[in-house]
């Protein structure tokens, strides 16, 4: 009976696992909360675009010789606000997102090429780490900063949650009631940007969409009550990170980002698919009983 506890204690005896859990938990809370509103407002595409802007931002900073995190935060927030201002009423339009997004990524590719040709001796693994995450490589300081920023993001979201919910569900009525709809829209875009910048370190720029979308969508299937759903999304995201990190620790051939995203996507797939299958089976057995009864 003691075996699992001993294994857990063994896992947490490694400092890198402790840092991974610290940063991962905080980032998961922020992703779950922000993702819930992103799904509610159908703004997942913005998250997608910003996650790719994060990649460009990180390389922009690396090329000029700054810390990658600085570039991440500045560029993602700038792109978020730019897209919000180009679209109408603080919303980013589908085509605007697509066009800006394509070019920002093109810039990222250029920066990647410059970085790998000119600075290849300094850090050859920077590209894959930014694209696919490097959670087991966090230092104590970077884990602490990531956790702090994620908690601040989550806190700000909770403070504006009530008016944001109103504005998301019925924008026209909210505006008529004096809710600052446009400011909330832009503010929320900035929060998505902060969350993508934080989670780039954990699951990587290309995979963080899973942490935004899957727990939130699962939560919205399980409950229609907004604040319960919000809490549930955060819990599911944290569970995905914890289970994913543990699985990846136990099976080192599985990359941690893969394990985390799988643990986020599988519950959602189960919640979305199982009720329909059960209903269909039940209907089929009911009709079979009916035909047998008729015979």
């Amino acid at each position: 009976m003691l075996l699992p506890f001993a294994a857990l204690a063994g896992m947490f005896s490694h400092p890198f696992m402790r840092y991974a859990f610290l940063a991962g938990t905080a980032v998961a809370v922020a992703s779950g909360l922000v993702g819930y509103f992103a799904v509610l407002r159908s703004q997942m595409f913005v998250g997608d675009a910003l996650s790719h802007a994060a990649f460009t931002g990180a390389f922009a900073a690396l090329v000029v010789g700054l810390d990658a995190r600085l570039g991440l935060f500045i560029i993602t927030v700038a792109v978020a606000l730019g897209m919000g201002l180009l679209g109408s009423r603080g919303h980013a339009d589908d085509v605007v997102i697509g066009s800006v997004f394509a070019w920002v990524l093109g810039l990222g590719v250029l920066l990647l090429a410059i970085y790998t040709t000119e600075r290849s001796t300094t850090n050859g693994a920077a590209g894959p780490a930014i694209l696919f995450g490097s959670i087991f490589g966090l230092t104590a300081a970077s884990a602490g900063i990531a956790a702090l920023l994620a908690l601040v993001t989550a806190g700000v979201l909770l403070i504006i949650a009530r008016p944001l919910l109103f504005a998301s569900v019925d924008e026209a009525v909210a505006a008529a009631q004096g809710v600052p709809v446009r400011a909330l829209s832009l503010g929320f875009l900035a929060l998505i940007a902060l969350t993508t910048a934080e989670s780039t370190q954990v699951v990587g720029a290309l995979l963080l969409l899973g942490l935004l979308a899957a727990p939130a969508a699962a939560a919205q299937r399980l409950t229609t009550r907004p604040f319960r759903g919000l809490a549930l999304a955060a819990v599911l995201a944290v569970a995905a990170v914890w289970v994913g990190l543990t699985v990846s620790y136990a099976a080192p051939r599985l990359p941690p980002s893969f394990a985390v995203i799988a643990c986020a996507a599988l519950p959602y797939a189960a919640i979305a698919l199982v009720p329909g299958v059960v209903r269909r089976l039940r209907r089929r057995s009911a009709s079979r009983i009916a035909t047998e009864a008729a015979v």
Partner: protein, 299 residues
């Protein structure tokens, strides 16, 4: 990019000759042309239907396809096509709840599919170990190694897609412009939507092989969006999208040949510049040219 490529002179004919002196560059131009035409045709409908997010997700689905194909030892081309079409089928098949408490689950479904696909790509890459160079080629494109057979495959797929699009084009346009009226007058909405998503998957897979999975958007979204800003008449803007895509691709390839930087950057930058120019023209100059062009290509 090749070592003996020589410099750029002011003699345009000589430069062009230099570009086309190598067989791989001829292949790159041929494949680029096929891909640009296909992207223009399919992307035009995608922009009209506001399905860019789905388009990007299908494109990204090609990455695990290519990585998986390399893992089992077959050509990445088949991986691209198989996974992109499978992604289209999955997105069509996944349930979407509609009703009183419905939220728009579509974007969540698409986002989850995208992240899962990329996660599988990461897994395949880490299982294979040590082909990081081709990871960059899958993600960001490469035009150096396009073979004759690859051009042929692209041509066949593009021809099939174009014929299909010609058959379903008219009802699809109707459905995209006004879904309710189209459904009421007997247009089969679900089969058409599914067929279009499969076409989108094919186009995304084809474009991926030139621009890489991450930069598919440069050809799939931007030329059609630019064309739809410039003219409201469906046929003209469709043709304009194709021509723009073609010009951007060829120019991008030619510049990339003479420069050490990746082709994806030049293609995206040319595309974005044309989009910005079209927006500026519409905002500033279009009113002075008489009849204002309505946006969105609705006719």
């Amino acid at each position: 990019m090749p070592a003996d490529a020589g410099g750029l002179s002011w003699n345009l004919a000589a430069d062009l000759q230099g570009v086309l002196a190598y067989h791989f560059m001829v292949n790159a131009f041929l494949a680029g042309a096929v891909v640009a035409v296909l992207a223009g045709l399919v992307g035009w409908f995608m922009v009209l239907r506001r399905e860019s997010f789905v388009g990007h997700t299908l494109a990204v689905t090609g990455f695990p396809g290519a990585a998986g194909a390399t893992l089992v030892g077959i050509s990445a081309v088949y991986g691209f096509f198989a996974f992109c079409v499978a992604g289209a089928l999955i997105i069509t098949a996944l349930p979407r709840r509609r009703g009183l408490h419905s939220f728009s689950e579509e974007s969540a479904v698409v986002g989850t599919v995208q992240a899962s696909a990329l996660a599988c790509g990461v897994l395949f890459v880490s299982l294979y170990r040590g082909f990081l160079n081709s990871v960059n080629a899958f993600l960001f494109g490469s035009f150096l190694g396009i073979t004759d057979s690859q051009v042929l495959v692209l041509l066949v797929v593009a021809a099939l897609a174009a014929v299909t699009l010609a058959v379903i084009g008219r009802p699809l346009l109707f459905l995209s412009v006004d879904a309710d009226v189209a459904a009421a007058s007997g247009v089969p909405a679900r089969p058409l939507t599914a067929a279009f998503l499969i076409l989108l998957g094919l186009a995304a897979a084809a474009v991926s092989q030139i621009t890489g999975t991450l930069l598919v958007f440069a050809l799939l979204v931007v030329p059609p969006a630019t064309a739809q800003l410039l003219t409201a008449r469906p046929f003209f803007s469709l043709m304009l999208a194709v021509l723009l895509g073609l010009a951007i691709t060829w120019l991008g390839l030619a510049i990339a040949y003479y420069s050490p930087y990746p082709v994806g950057f030049f293609i995206t930058t040319l595309a974005f510049a044309s989009y910005l120019a079209a927006r500026t023209w519409r905002a500033g100059l279009a009113p002075h040219f008489g009849r204002p062009a309505a946006a969105r290509g609705a006719a």
